[in-house]
Amino acid sequence: MTSGPQPPTSTIEVPLLAVRGLTKRYGGRVGCLDVGFDLWPGEVLGVVGESGSGKTSVLQCLAGLLQATAGTAAFAQRDGAVVDILRLPEAARRRLARTDWAMVQQNPRDGLRMGVTAGANVGEPIMAVGARHYGRIRREALGWLRQVEIPEERVDDLPSTFSGGMQQRLQIARALVTRPRLVFMDEPTGGLDVSVQARLLDLLRRLVTDLGLSAVIVTHDLAVARLLAHRLLVMQGGEVIESGLTDRVLDDPQHPYTQLLVSSVLHP
């Protein structure tokens, strides 16, 4: 497969994010169990599996939306210091969440403020880190709308007047405006029809390459994983059952469940 993304070349010797033994229990039930991986700068990691396999639990624990039961996640900050984001005090974690990483939700309504204009949605993250010049905030917002292919004249419209695909692109602009080093995406193409999905995937691929983003993308859609991810984790019942380079996992699956998953994809 030559159409897949090329693995990045990097000289940095520390992974951006090193996860070990990540476990989340909901009472007696298991969300995810002993999940571990390294994410290198500029790398896109796909997490695939069926509904209930623990993909979203992993993502939400890492993004600080859920409290992990056990495990560590060592994150290399801009200054080179490595911190365990699962043990970080809430104030420090929320500060990192504003500056160093971003979250793209499956439903744009969860990631956007629906009551304020598109420009304010994109401008809010930079106002949150101290931007206090209206003209510059607006220029920055317009620049990002261009990047995600939203017409500039929509900058003063409410997101509720946008189509689903536009809302998702607006959410991506809002996530990237602070130039995060790590992006968490939960089914970014989830609720979209296929042609809109294709356009969004093209956009994401371009942004990931142009900006050198590192990302963890949770998806149940193997085509999305194939297009965006350098490496894959396959999850079932809360555990990682197989991992490796995307093309290897999808073209030569080893675990019976992965084989089943790959063979379940319809080819029209």
């Binding site: 809430e90 104030a91 929320r94 500060r95 504003r98 403020r113 009551g115 304020v116 204009t117 420009g119 304010a120 401008g123 809010e124 993250p125 106002m127 949150a128 880190v129 931007a131 206090r132 010049h133 209206y134 003209g135 905030i137 607006r138 003063d156």
Partner: protein
């Protein structure tokens, strides 16, 4: 009025409110929770302010009560009578004579002095509420100084109206730390909060919150560098006292569209008219 305790509230309640007030003064702009009581007036009419006044008023105080700057409107008259009956303290309409001023919607034009106390009636104390309905989350945002969304509000104003259109209850930052709603005073009065020699106390009865700006505390109105904070200006002077410095109300005087502008602060305006005569 021997049937009631001095200033209506029982002593235990007053002590509880005073403890909240002390905490509020110690942390300027921070909203302190308190056990708000039922008062003999309805919510929205100043139950928070009345409780704060009742907790701090003493027999030697001289009380002034204003509503929209006026001493003679229903709310002001009722509250002033209430305290006159339940405490027997002297009341006044003269700003400089008062030791304690309860207010709704205005800060007097006459500069306040050291030793005076202003009590504000607050409908909604939480400045972050407009974008964040969860109390648990707004508390966290205050604790961590996550105030980005306050500027989102100003951004929206400029985007939709070409300028910051918020004209009253204009958010301020107190002592470089907490964002605070100054109660529904016009933004014209915001500069009077900054480094005021008087103690400013804010009471929200329904929402059960008390907060304070101690004397000489810096209070800054939020703005953008390229859209600095400004206050209202009028093309005309007060039709009664010719003041060009005070906050003016527009008053319709006949059924032919005739209108005049007059000071909203009746004490200030009346004194100026007396002096002119």
């Amino acid at each position: 009025m021997s049937e009631y305790n001095f200033a209506y509230l029982d002593e235990q309640t007053k002590r509880m409110i005073r403890r909240a007030l002390l905490k509020a003064v110690a942390i300027p702009g921070y909203q302190v929770r308190f056990g708000s009581r039922e008062m003999p007036l309805s919510y929205g009419w100043g139950t928070g302010g009345v409780q704060v006044t009742a907790a701090i008023i003493g027999p030697d105080d001289i009380l002034k009560v204003i509503d929209q700057g006026a001493d003679d409107t229903t709310n002001a008259v009722s509250i002033r009578k209430f305290f006159a009956r339940t405490t027997g303290v002297r009341t006044t309409t003269r700003t400089e004579r008062a030791t304690l001023i309860q207010t709704r919607h205005r800060i007097p034009e006459t500069p306040l002095r050291d030793g005076q106390i202003m009590v504000f009636q607050v409908p909604i104390p939480e400045p972050l509420r407009w974008l964040e309905p969860r109390e648990s989350e707004t508390r966290k945002m205050h604790a961590l100084e996550e105030y980005g969304i306050m500027h989102v509000r100003l951004y929206e104003d400029i985007t939709l109206h070409g300028r910051v259109a918020t004209a009253y209850d204009y958010p301020v930052r107190v002592n470089g730390r907490y964002i605070m709603r100054p109660s529904p005073i016009p933004k014209f009065d915001n500069p009077k909060l900054d480094r005021s020699p008087a103690l400013m106390l804010f009471g929200a009865g329904r929402e059960k919150r008390i907060y304070a700006v101690p004397p000489w505390t810096p209070v800054k109105s939020l703005d953008f560098k390229d859209h600095p904070f400004t206050i209202e200006r009028w093309a005309q002077a007060c039709a009664l006292c010719a003041s060009r410095e005070s906050f003016l109300d527009e008053v319709i005087v006949d059924d032919k569209g005739g209108r005049i502008f007059v000071c909203s602060d009746t004490d200030y305006c009346g004194r100026r008219q007396e002096r002119a005569r």
